[in-house]
């Protein structure tokens, strides 16, 4: 008996639901009303835990093995998430403009490694244009103040 991806998703949801359910037990009831802030979360978390159990049980009782899909480039997916995570993490320090320029250049290079000088020019030009256009458009014309960097003040 082996869990499929759906079964693992159910198991992960079950663990998360139970942990959160336990945390709701600390929520104190409001003396003025019949139900407190923990009433609804307990219903919802109980429901998600029950459904997660059902999903795992159905998955285990399934006779046919799930078909394996075509090979996917998961390392690249992970790298894209990491690059995006670094972008988001650095934005408060570097500011929108510098971090966006670096992010666009890095992600483009990752998705399609530039070949030769022309390739690098395209990467840098796209990063620069994206950064400048979004900054000018949002800050000047749409009144959206994008983050300034704590370290760079830019």
């Amino acid at each position: 008996m082996k869990l499929s991806r759906e079964g693992w998703a159910g198991l992960a949801t079950l663990v998360a639901s139970l942990v959160l359910f336990v945390l709701t037990l600390d929520l104190k009831a409001n003396p003025l009303v019949p139900i407190g802030p923990g009433f609804y979360p307990r219903i919802v978390l109980g429901l998600s835990a029950a459904l997660a159990v059902l999903l795992v049980v159905f998955d285990l009782s399934r006779k046919s093995e799930p078909k394996a899909g075509p090979g996917a480039n998961y390392p690249l997916v992970l790298l894209v998430f990491v690059v995006f995570g670094i972008y988001v993490g650095l934005m408060p320090g570097l500011g929108f403009r510098i971090s966006t320029f670096l992010f666009v250049a890095a992600l483009q290079s990752l998705l399609e490694p530039p070949k030769g000088v022309k390739g690098w020019i395209i990467v840098l030009a796209t990063a620069l244009i994206t950064t400048l256009v979004t900054h000018i458009l949002f800050e000047r014309y749409l009144s959206v103040l994008l983050p300034r960097g704590r370290w760079t003040d830019f």
């Binding site: 998703a9 929520l27 407190g36 459904l51 996917a72 934005m91 998705l111 994206t130 014309y141």
Partner: protein, 509 residues
Amino acid sequence: MYELLLSGIANVLQLKYLLPLAIGTLVGVVGGAMPGITNTMTVIMVLPFTFGLEPLQGLSVMIGVYVGGESGGLITSCLLGIPGKPSSVATMFDGFPMSQKGEPGRALWLGIWASFFGGLIGGVFLIGTTGPLASLALEFGPWEYFSLFVFALSMVAGLTGASITAGLLSGAIGLVITVLGNDPIFGAPRLTLGIAWLEGGIPFLPVLIGVFAFAQIMSDVERINRKGPLEGAARFIVPKLVVSHLKVIWEILSRPFLLLWTSIIGLFIGVLPAIGGSAANVMAYDQAKKFSRHPERFGTGTPEGIIAAEAANNANIGGSLVTIMAFGIPGDAVTAVMLGALTIHGIQPGPLFISQEKTLAYGIFAAYLIAHVLMLLILFIGVRWFLRVVLVPKAILFPVILVLCVVGAYALNNTIANVYVLLLCGVLGYAMVKGGLPLAPLILGVILGDQIEINLVRSIMTDADPWLFLTRPISGGLLAASAASMAAAFWQHRRAQKKSAVAAGAADF
């Protein structure tokens, strides 16, 4: 009503509304023509640009994107055999064979004109039914609202195509997201996990943007380094698209039953929460085939196939707009983003919307109608150019889309916490796709979660008798409908499983 509609049309024809509507329609057509870029993605991309605009300007952009996107998808479906988006898949079944037979112009314009007429039928339904449905919803108390939202969630969970348990679990995860942060009735902090920025709760737009943008982009990233469908596009030569428009219009209007029936299917699918144009497109095609005297011609380039598929997916927009305007429940992901845009401007869609925000409501109706005319004009002028957009490399497109997602999430209330939510929900969305959990119920759960809690608590505070949920006629009817829809979905699922088991058994022998 007609006076209000005419004044809405006159209002939207002003340059300050017409220009955003035209830009939105153009962006929608271009986005729709790009394989892999769905309407949801396009509307997410334009969302941050609407923050600084007036509500009607912002909504005009989004309606333009919606209408343009539904029509733009047919360009590559008919001419390249690559659906621009899921809601153009069935258009390809007959559009592409017709093009290959040497009639690309006829295939394309049959689709465009059918979209136009289907959209107009959707418009009639939208304008005619939103007010009466909103009046009906005004009679609702907290019991009825609670049951309505439960009904919407159960419908979505049963209709998403995955297993019913997976659909329901996805909706429950959406509800769980809404209980993190604070209690919507008393504002008491709860389940903040020690994270300061969670105390204000999680706004649904960063969740929606993160879940959909990453699920789609990462699904494409997975396929990099393998032969993709776009490789052939670079060798594509734009064909001659000259056609007699009167002849094409007559081809459509001489089949009034087909046009009307498939538009009604589109409308019905649109009214159902969170299942969009892709289901309408395929179901209408299937119905057209079943009702046809020559079903054997379907798939070989018959005009009926193109008309049915395209009329349905544009009529679908009208249905989706009805549910959001009358009940505040988004018909699909695009209208969910629109709902977010409205709430940013302090406007709450729902039963009171059409009576309290008349100018805006009739402005939306007018924008919807005018967007269809703009869509025709834009395609008439630029259809040859839009074919070239499929050549834009994804390596350039994806970073730009992600930057716009960041700006959209950040600009909601100028806080970096929303960007963290975007990232976390991006991971969650991708993990759910990989785990076989559908995304539509999750989003509906996030959108409706607070309202479900508020109405549940209000009803209990008004009268603690839980039987009222069943004994009040509308509330009881809605809960019975939820149970019926779940039972129907369960029965369909079992039947499909049995069929596949029989097929597998036959294959073994």
